[in-house]
Each structure stands twice: as structure tokens, then as C-alpha cells.
Symmetry: C2
Subunit: 331 residues, 2 copies
């Protein structure tokens, strides 16, 4: 390239990057020759020199614990990943989906990423340790419940979903509202339960909480239904279930026992999925806005990467909406 343009390597670099002092005519010629030759600086060599490859990593922790990257009907994560990839492109970055990079079978490229997005980190997440140790910037969706000092996370708005769901159910006449969470140690499960217990305490309700392994899917929901039915206490008249698959299972279980949804029990899911959309009746669900969240997370990470030391960006806020469906449509 330098030979073709009749200048030094330095001048090529300066010309194409707009740095240094180069005569206008020279810079123009270099640019023209580069275009003609289809030349552009080798990204790897540039990466070696500048320690910036233009690559972002995405780790979706719930899929790690779930064991499968394509859980039946759960489209939240795929939509999240797709939107993140597109937004990264818009920012001039590539995005690589990765599994737990502490697990050892991570691709070699893992630690070469400029920054990471961690979706739903676990308590004291080792992935955050690894990245911090390697001085790789990261942004989380959901907080690490054991790491209060780590503030570069978004999605705190999910906390308010508990309140809005309870308000919705109360408005429809619910008296005794139960909560079903997953067992992953992430803030989505933990903080939702905390919020719920706070509400119960404030309203003199006996909290009714079940924790069920996410991996069990609809079957896990059916088990909860059986536990509810076998319990000495009377059945709650509304159930807020964080995962869509558990919700669908609970609904099916209660219906099999002769209960009607929503007449006898109302059901709300904390995240929308194919199961909640297509069960009978369809289940009222919180739309966790995967596209908007992904877009915000990528933009935030890129801002973090490209910001000066002194004016760091702040985490964006995401708005969630309740999709009201027949499972809470009374009267």
C-alpha cells in the first residue's frame, strides 16, 4: 500500500486516520489509492497495537445455568441477542455471543473483546471477577446482588413490575396474591421476592412464596400447582409467576384440578413468552422489552468504552409494559 502511494507506512496511517500532519494533497492521494486497492488497515494488527478489536462479548447467564441455548418457546434471549448484535453494528462493533467464559471451553477470542454485556449476573458472579481481573469493561443487565459497589448495570425498573402487577391484580379483585420465582441467584429473582415481601408486610398479608428451578419449565409449574393444591392453606386467588413457562404449567395444573382461570385464580407472568401468548387462556405478562433493553445496554457499554475518564455515562432506564390478557380478565 505504502509503495503504491509512494509514501511511507507512517504517512499512510496518518492519512487514513486523520492524525499527524500530512499535506492535503498527499492525504487525498493516499485515500484515493487505498480506495482503488480496496485497502483498509488490518483489524488484527490494529487491535494488537491499540488493544481495541472492535468486538463486544455477550454472556447470557440464565442460559448458562439453563444448560440450553434454545429453550423451547422462550424468545426473550434470542430477541435480546439479535437486537444487541444489530445495535453493536450500528455503533461500529461486532458482537459475539459467548457461554460462561470461566468454564474453560470459551473461544480463544473471549478475552480479546473490548467490553462485555452480562445478562442477569449471578450472586458474586465469577464472570465479573474474570473480566475485572483482566481489566475488561462490562455492563450488566440486572445487578449482582452480592456486589453493591458495582453500579454499571441497567434494568432496575424490573423492581417496579412487582408493584404494578400487584396493583393490576388488586384492581381486578385479588385478595391473596402468591409469588413464584426461579432459583437462579440473580437480582430478578431476589429483588422481586424482596419487593413482594415488603408489600406483604406493609399490607398485613401472609406472604406466599414458591421458588422453582427454571430448568423444569412447564413441568416445574405443574409441580407448584400440586403443592398449592396440597397445601393446608386455601388456594391464593392470584399468582404472580416470574417465568412464563412456570406460569403456563401452573395454569395447566390448576385447570386439570378443575379450577377456572381467571374466575377462580388469576395468573400473571413476569416475562412474556410463546407459552404465555398461546396458552388457553393467554396469560397476562410483563413485556420485558428485550430489544429496547439490548439496545440500551450496547449503547451504554459503547459510551463507557469511548468516554473520557472524567465524564462517565450513567445507566439508562428501561420502561416495561404489562400485556393484559385473558388470564386476568374478570367480569
Amino acid at each position: 500500500m505504502a509503495r503504491h502511494a509512494g509514501v511511507s507506512i507512517t504517512t499512510v496511517s496518518h492519512s487514513l486516520n486523520g492524525k499527524g500532519v500530512v499535506a492535503k494533497a498527499t492525504r487525498q492521494r493516499v485515500i484515493e489509492v487505498a480506495a482503488e486497492l480496496g485497502y483498509s488497515a488490518d483489524a488484527i494488527a490494529r487491535g494488537l497495537r491499540s488493544n481495541r478489536l472492535g468486538l463486544l462479548g455477550l454472556v447470557i447467564r440464565p442460559l448458562d445455568t439453563l444448560g440450553s441455548y434454545q429453550p423451547e418457546g422462550v424468545d426473550y434471549f434470542l430477541r435480546f441477542a439479535g437486537a444487541a448484535a444489530v445495535e453493536a453494528l450500528d455503533c461500529g462493533y461486532g458482537l459475539v455471543l459467548m457461554r460462561d467464559p470461566t468454564a474453560g471451553n470459551a473461544p480463544g477470542i473471549a478475552l480479546a473483546a473490548d467490553g462485555f454485556i452480562i445478562s442477569d449476573p449471578l450472586a458474586g458472579d465469577p464472570v465479573i471477577d474474570l473480566l475485572t481481573r483482566n481489566a475488561i469493561p462490562l455492563v450488566a443487565v440486572g445487578r449482582d446482588v452480592e456486589r453493591p459497589d458495582f453500579t454499571a448495570w441497567l434494568g432496575g425498573g424490573t423492581l417496579r413490575n412487582v408493584d404494578s402487577v400487584i396493583a393490576h391484580l388488586s384492581e381486578r379483585g385479588a385478595q391473596r396474591i402468591a409469588l413464584v420465582t426461579g432459583t437462579d441467584e440473580n437480582s430478578w429473582n431476589a429483588d422481586s421476592e424482596n419487593s413482594y415481601r415488603e408489600w406483604a408486610a406493609e399490607n398485613n398479608q401472609t406472604p406466599i412464596v414458591y421458588n422453582q428451578d427454571e430448568r423444569l419449565g412447564e413441568e416445574g409449574g405443574r409441580e407448584i400447582a400440586e403443592e398449592l393444591l396440597a397445601s393446608d392453606a386455601s388456594l391464593p386467588d392470584a399468582i404472580y409467576c416470574l417465568t412464563g413457562r412456570h406460569a403456563a404449567g401452573i395454569q395447566a395444573g390448576l385447570q386439570a384440578a378443575g379450577y377456572r382461570i381467571p374466575e377462580d385464580v388469576m395468573i400473571v407472568a413476569g416475562s412474556d413468552s410463546e407459552q404465555t401468548r398461546n396458552s388457553a387462556p393467554p396469560i397476562t405478562s410483563v413485556d420485558l422489552a428485550p430489544e429496547a433493553t439490548a439496545k440500551a445496554a450496547v449503547a451504554y457499554l459503547v459510551a463507557l468504552l469511548e468516554a473520557d475518564e472524567d465524564n462517565q455515562p450513567l445507566p439508562p432506564e428501561i420502561a416495561y409494559e404489562l400485556r393484559e390478557r385473558a388470564s386476568t380478565q374478570r367480569g
Copy 2:
């Protein structure tokens, strides 16, 4: 690292990569020290030296021409991309989704990928030119209709879908079968039309073919319905429509004009989508097996990358299935 282990840089490299001649004890010690320090060779530096970054690129051409990377209800590509990413990980690679890398706004990392998967290349696709010029191996899903010499592609089985759909429709009593394709210049559109016309010629049928822009979605389907209704010729009694969104639009258009599906007209879509699953009636569709296709494409590309010059792998075959639904359920 070399200092910590008390050996040269060379010996570290040799020890960790199992190359060269290193005393067993030394190699062991180096490995231990590396584990202790959490050291692993910098992927970028290694990439610079070996020209292998461990990164695959994925370009989905229909989304480029569509202009949107999240077309409403079309989950084929997202599922394809997700499955490809996971399979790449299983092979030790990262996968980056990219837009048309010839468009200029491609991320710098684009040409640093070890290899590419091109989904549904266009006729004489410039992306293939670009990659070939840069000596980057690639695998396509669907062939480039203007590049018969390029054989590293899979998905030829879609050709047979035309026959099986026609067989299915004939079995259900169809006499006059129309075809609706898209206008993208890919093999999926072109070869399907060719197959259809061959069948028509062999069976003394007057071919009825419409080509409609993919970008118009369901509205485009409705337009086709109007054209069919306005035509002098009588309405076909079955329509094979390659895209799910066109199919849903045609069905809605015909129903609005008072025709019944499937009694008056049967409809089949060449690719499954949310529209075909949830329209009324649900539309019989070909399941293009995005996960299996993606997995096969990645495995094929990786095999290509890692193969010796002399024994190149052959493209795998994919099997597709017809999902029979009410839109062809007669009698």
C-alpha cells in the same frame, strides 16, 4: 509469564501449544505456572501471527435487502443466527452477525474473520466477490445463481420442497396450483420458480406465477390476492407462496373477498413464521429447519477451515418437513 516460569518466551509458547521439543518436567512447570497466573496467549497477537482469530462472520442477505433486521414475526433468521452462534462456540469459534460488508459501514473486524457464512446470496453477490478477493473462505446457504462454479453451499434440498408441496396439494385435490415468489435474486426464489415451471410443462398446466417484493410483507400478499381476483383467468384452487407473510396476506385478501380457505383455495407457505402459525386458519408450511441448517453450515465451514488441502469436506444435506395445518385440510 516467561519470567515467572524462568524460561524463555519460546519455551512458554512451545510448552503451552505442545510444539517443539521441551523436557517433560519443564513443560509441566510452565503449564502449572500459567494456570496459577491465569495466563493464556493473547488472541489478538496470536491472530496477527497466524492469521487466525477464531472468529466466523455471518451475513444474512435477505435482511440486508429487507432493510430491517427484525422483521415482524419472521423468526427464521433469528433462530438461524442463534443456532449458528451456539454451534460456532461448540467448535471453539466466536460468531459475529454482520450487515453487507461491501456497504462501507461494516465494523473494522469484518475482514478479520477466519471464514464467512452467507445466507441466501444474491445473483453475482458482491459479498462473495469481496471475500474471494480477500481470500476468506466462505460457505453459502443457497447458491449464487450466477456463479455455477461456486460449490461450497448447502440447502439444495429446498428444490425438492416444490415437488413435495405440489404433491401434497394434488393429493388434496388441487387442479390449478399457482406460485408466488419474492423478488430477491436468490436461488430460493429462482430455483423454486424453475422447478414449478418444469412441473407445469411436464403436466400440461399453464403456469401461474407472481413475483412480489419481500419487503411488502402481508400487504404485498393482499395485493397479490387482488391481482388474482382481478385476473380474467379463474382463481387457482391452490397457492404455493414462498414467504409466510405473503401467504398470510393472500389468505386474508381472499377471505375478505368471500372465499373460504381451504374449501375454495388451499394455501401453503414455503417458510414457517409466526404469521403462518397464528393466522385463521393456520397455514400449512415448510419447516426450513433453521437450527439444523445453521448447525450444518457452521460445521461445514469449520471443516473447510481446518481441512487439509487435499481432502476437502462436502456440503451436508438438510431435510425439510411439511407442517400440515388447516389451510390444506380438506374434507
